[in-house]
């Protein structure tokens, strides 16, 4: 069973992500509604993948990325960043900060499934 942590302060958005990914065999989901909660959950349980929004209260997704990549235990966690900023510059910026994958909103169910399945198969940290 692969555990996926879905991080977004919008419940509708979290539900949408889960609805898209529910069809992948052998996955289960946990939610976090803020960057700090995401970090807390990552430090207390093992996850195979994190789907991360950038725009959140307290600390944003980029700060979460930065912190997580600085932790030995979490440096290999696959992280898919989902964001409204879809331009090339943002993509480069996010990948440089340590994201494993990048998906711009709006996305289709097929697009996020493809990204997640690829990351779960690869099972590694930052995109090279």
């Amino acid at each position: 069973m692969s555990s996926i942590l879905v991080v977004d302060d919008s419940k509708v958005m979290r539900d949408m992500v889960v609805a898209c990914l529910r069809g992948i065999p052998g996955v289960e989901f946990a939610h976090a509604s803020s960057g700090l909660e995401a970090i807390e959950r990552l430090s207390l349980a093992k996850f195979e993948l994190m789907v991360l929004d950038l725009n959140m209260p307290d600390i944003g997704g980029l700060e979460v990325l930065e912190f997580v990549r600085g932790q030995d235990l979490l440096s290999k966690l696959p992280i898919l960043v989902v964001t409204t900023r879809g331009d090339e510059a943002s993509r480069a910026h996010v990948l440089a900060a340590g994201a494993s994958g990048f998906l711009a909103k709006p996305f289709t169910p097929d697009a996020i499934i493809a990204e997640v399945e690829a990351l779960l198969l690869r099972g590694t940290g930052p995109a090279s």
């Binding site: 509708v12 958005m13 609805a19 069809g23 909660e37 430090s43 207390l44 600390i59 709006p106």
Partner: protein, 676 residues
């Protein structure tokens, strides 16, 4: 692979959540405006507005509402520049932003009602270009905070300033560290709950994650540094985080020297306890229609229980010992009552939510009328059925609008009359009992000139406030042009009366003293039930029946109705009609209800199902279909099987709401009795 992931099913949730974000954007923009008036910037409110818009943009893109994405995007990029520089917004910008929020709201509402979503207003979007760019702010390094440099580097200039100037607000800038662990989580201490508890004690300026060596206390190698500004005592703060009081650290040693003694300022712990919001509870959002559906199913259950009770009574009459079963029946009655109460409770929304939109309304009105108004809102913890709340809102808007438009004098006039420049408008509510909510809307304006109202109406001067209210509620009496200058109460009082009294079954009271002020008092039921119903007529009496209980409505050809033999002439007759090749019984409602002499012709029949079998009721004519508010018939004198309540079809007289299958059941029971 993507089957079942159709995102359009999220539209309802989208509507609810975006409404919340729009509410945040509105209130934060008002906060920014209030700060600007005091010559201050409000970077935190600016960031919250930015975030709300950003979330709306993301969600809207997923649901495919392009016009909203475009508006939100323009507003967001405008705000981002100011957020980055930490510089105050130009005053005019708040207004343009509020219009933007409104434009988004309108488009989301269109989506909700299934009408076409208007394209983005280009004029508004280009107006942002004219608002100017942020001025660079001087950012002096603030090195007087007792923080590690790597944490210090993560604080925005406004956050640093907020910590440094805490003492000006008689608060202290503090730091507490929270170490998350499964054990702490089991005791209810997680980063979310800790942060929320701290938010009740002051303001959490920043929370940052820190990597720490793995230990028993920090099994995940993680700590959170929470930086806050608060006037609470160390032990209160420590309790909120679940740590020792001496672990609460001051960020500014100097703040104590300024003369704030925290132990004196802090409230006694037990008082703080009461005011502190508890850990946030999980909230599920549900479409009201689903709740209505659940309630309808419950009603069916109650009818079944009624039939069961009858069957048991018959067994008892035949000599069976039914005591044990009676006990079970009375338990089930109690459980059904509890279940009903539970469903009703689910439908309740906080009144505070209903009043949330009032500040924005008052602000807009003040600008138009050049009034200065101080608004006091007091919603407490009262709750109201969502359906009542939706109907009540236009009433509140009317009364608030009248108060600002007509009752409260211009600032100059107020000063001349020896009143404070700013008028006072108070909207407060309380649940006076388990069944009614009392809402008061009062102002200290010019009051109502009874004589002027009487002259306009061509009636004698009302002797009491009640008589004055009756006069004001005469339809068509008070048009804006005639009453504005004389009475101070203008439009829509008859609408207010119709909603409060006729629709909701509430009460309306007025207390007005000329020259001193006016107070409207509304008492409304906490819940109402609404159904879609057919109305029909029988021997001149009108009735309604819920659409959901009706299988179909058929024409009756009098020549094709045959009547079964009736050995005893005083019984209501049973006719037989053919429906899709099947004979079904027909009962004449006018005969069942003894509304008039038996007649041979009836035009229409309403077909319902009873115990799985179709049963037709002959009526004179169908009148229409509409949503009706059902009022309970709770006095024992008028409780009758088959009559589930009363409603008002607009003539001020109650009309009975019928459950025809229950009437069929009562009739069947009678037949059994007659056969004995």
């Amino acid at each position: 692979m993507s089957e079942g992931a159709d995102l359009t099913e999220f539209v309802a949730a989208y509507l609810v959540e975006t409404e919340e974000h729009l509410g945040v954007a509105n209130s934060q923009l008002l906060a920014i405006e209030a700060s600007l008036r005091k010559g201050e910037s409000n970077p935190r409110a600016l960031r919250e507005t930015f975030r709300a818009l950003h979330t709306i943009k993301g969600l809207s893109s997923m649901v495919g509402v392009e016009p909203v994405v475009e508006i939100a995007h323009r507003m967001e990029t405008f705000l981002r520049d100011f957020d980055r520089e930490g510089s105050p917004l130009p005053t005019r910008a708040v207004d343009v932003l509020l219009r933007g929020v409104r434009a988004i709201g309108q488009r989301i509402a269109s989506l909700g009602s299934g009408t076409a979503v208007a394209p983005p207003p280009q004029e508004l979007i280009t107006e942002f270009d004219t608002l100017g760019a942020p001025l660079p702010q001087d950012q002096k390094p603030l090195l007087d905070l007792d923080l590690e440099p790597e944490l210090l580097a993560k604080l925005a200039p406004f956050e640093l300033a907020q910590l440094r100037t805490a003492s000006e607000k008689a608060c202290r800038a503090l730091r507490v560290d929270f170490l998350p662990s499964p054990a702490r989580a089991a005791e209810g201490f997680t980063i979310n709950s800790v942060r929320e508890r701290l938010a009740g004690l002051g303001e959490v300026v920043k929370a940052l994650p820190l990597a720490v060596p793995v230990s028993t206390e920090a099994p995940g190698g993680l700590a959170f540094a929470l930086l806050l500004v608060s006037d609470a005592a160390d032990d209160v703060i420590a309790q909120a985080v679940g740590i020792a009081p001496n672990a609460v650290k001051s960020l500014l040693a100097r703040s104590l020297a300024v003369g704030v003694d925290p132990s004196e300022r802090a409230l006694p712990p037990e008082l703080v306890e009461d005011e502190r919001p508890g850990p946030r509870q999980a909230v599920v959002r549900v479409d009201v229609r689903r709740l209505d559906d659940a309630m309808e199913r419950l009603s069916a259950l109650i009818v079944t229980r009624f039939r069961l009770a009858r069957a048991i009574a018959e067994l008892g009459a035949d000599g069976a010992d039914t005591r044990a079963i009676q006990q079970v029946m009375s338990d089930s009655a109690r459980e059904l009552r509890d279940l009903r109460a539970a469903i009703v409770a689910v439908r309740m929304v906080p009144v505070a939510e209903l009043l949330e939109r009032i500040p924005l309304l008052v602000r807009g009105l003040c600008r138009h009328t050049e009034r200065a108004v101080k608004l006091e809102l007091e919603a407490g913890n009262a709750e109201l059925d969502k359906a009542v709340s939706e109907r009540l809102f236009p009433v509140i808007v009317h009364l608030v609008r009248n108060a600002v438009d007509h009752a409260i004098e211009s600032p100059d006039e107020r000063v001349r009359r020896g009143k404070p420049r700013e008028g006072l408008l108070r909207v407060s509510c309380s649940s006076r009992s388990n069944t009614r909510l009392e809402l008061s809307i009062s102002d200290d304006g010019r009051g109502i000139d009874r004589e002027a109202v009487a002259r306009k109406a061509g009636r004698p001067t009302p002797a009491s406030d009640q008589a004055l209210l009756d006069l004001l509620c005469i339809p068509g009496l008070s048009t804006r042009s005639t009453v504005t200058t004389t009475s101070g109460r203008g439009m829509g009082m008859e609408i207010v009366k119709r909603i409060v009294i006729d629709d909701l079954g509430g009460e309306l009271e007025l207390v007005s003293t000329f020259g001193v002020g006016t107070r409207f008092l509304l008492r409304v039921p906490l819940t109402i039930s609404i159904v879609d119903a057919f109305s029909f007529e029988c021997e001149g009496q009108r009735f309604v029946v819920p659409v959901s209980t009706v299988e179909e409505i058929v024409e009756i050809d009098a020549a094709l109705v045959s009547y079964s033999p009736m050995p005893r002439g005083d019984q209501p007759r049973v006719g037989i009609i053919a429906r899709r090749g099947k004979a079904i019984p027909l009962l004449m409602l006018s005969e069942l209800f003894q509304l008039g002499p038996p007649r041979s012709v009836t035009a229409k029949a309403i077909v319902v199902r009873r115990a799985g079998q179709p049963l037709a009721f002959g009526v004179d004519r169908m009148l229409g279909q509409q949503e009706v508010v059902i009022r309970p018939i709770d006095d024992a004198l008028i409780r009758s099987p088959g009559v589930t309540g009363a409603t008002d079809l607009g003539d001020g007289k109650p009309t009975l709401v019928l459950d025809l299958s229950q009437i069929g059941a009562a009739y069947a029971a009678l037949e059994v009795a007659a056969a004995e």
